[in-house]
Symmetry: C2
Subunit: 126 residues, 2 copies
DNA sequence: CTAAACAGTGGACTACGCTCCAAGGTCAAG
DNA sequence: CTTGACCTTGGAGCGTAGTCCACTGTTTAG
C-alpha cells in the first residue's frame, strides 16, 4: 500500500504519515522506485495511534510502546496488556473529570463561584 | 499584590504570569514604579484558568470568556453559567472516554486487538 | 551604603505536532 | 510523447504554551 492510499484509509494526510515515519511511529519498506510501501495493518496501527492520542499520549510515548510491541514474544498479548494499561488511564481520567465536575457543580449558583474549593488540577499523569 | 506573590499563591512562575498578561488572560494595574499590581481575586482567576486548561480549553478561549465575563451585567451569574457550560463539557468528555473505554475493553483479550471496532476518535470538541 | 531580593524589558529558545512548499522523479493513459 | 496523478526530498513555518536569559531599575534590611 502506498502512502496516498494509506493516508486516505487512515484519514490523515501524506505529510502526516511521512512525519510519523520520521519520528518512528511507522516503519516503511520501499518499492524499487523509492516509493514507500506499507502493509495493510498499518491502517489499524494508525487508528490505534489516534486513539492513544485521544487519551493524551504523546507521539513519542506511542512510538515507544509500539517499539515494545514489536519486540514482544506474543504481540496480541502485549497489545492486550497495553490496552489494559490504557483502560486504567481512561479510568483515572474519568475520575479526575468527576472530581472537577463535583468541584464546579459546587460553585454553580454560589455568590462568588471563583473561590477555590480545593483539589483543582491534580496534574497531568500520562 | 505584586507579581511574585501572585505567582506563589497561584502556583506558577512570574514568567508565566507575564506571558498570560501578554495574551490578555490577566490585566494589570501598575504601581508608580512600574511594578505590576494585581487585585487578590486574580489568584482565584488563575486557579480557574488552570481548571479550564485541565478541561482542554486553550488560553485564547479562556481569555475570550474572561472578556465576556467582564462585560456581563451580573458577573457571578455569568460565571455560574460558564461553569454550567463546562459541566456539560466535562460530561461529554466523560461520555467520550466511556465509549473509548468500552471499545478498548472489547479488544483486550481478542486475538487481534488492533482490528477497528468503529467509533474511535470522535474529534476534539473544545 | 551596599547587598540581596525583588521588579521590569526584549528577545531567543524549546517541544510538540503538524502543514506547506519547491524542485524534482515515476508511471499509466491517451 | 505529453499530461496528470502520484511519489520523493529537504527545509521553512506555524500555533500553543511556556521557559530562560541578559541587562537594567527599585526596594528593603543590615
Amino acid at each position: 500500500m502506498r502512502i496516498g492510499e494509506l493516508a486516505a484509509q487512515a484519514g490523515m494526510t501524506r505529510d502526516t504519515i511521512r512525519f510519523y515515519e520520521k519520528v518512528g511511529l511507522v516503519t516503511g519498506r520501499r518499492l524499487p522506485n523509492g516509493y514507500r510501501d506499507f502493509p495493510p495493518e498499518t491502517v489499524a496501527w494508525l487508528q490505534y495511534v489516534r486513539t492513544a492520542q485521544a487519551l493524551g499520549f504523546s507521539l513519542a510515548e506511542i512510538a515507544r510502546n509500539g517499539e515494545a510491541l514489536r519486540e514482544a514474544p506474543d504481540t496480541a498479548e502485549a497489545l492486550s496488556l497495553l490496552f489494559e494499561e490504557k483502560l486504567q488511564v481512561i479510568d483515572s481520567r474519568i475520575a479526575e473529570l468527576t472530581t472537577l465536575r463535583a468541584d464546579l457543580a459546587l460553585r454553580v449558583g454560589t455568590g462568588c463561584p471563583l473561590r477555590p474549593t480545593g483539589g483543582v488540577l491534580p496534574g497531568r499523569t500520562p
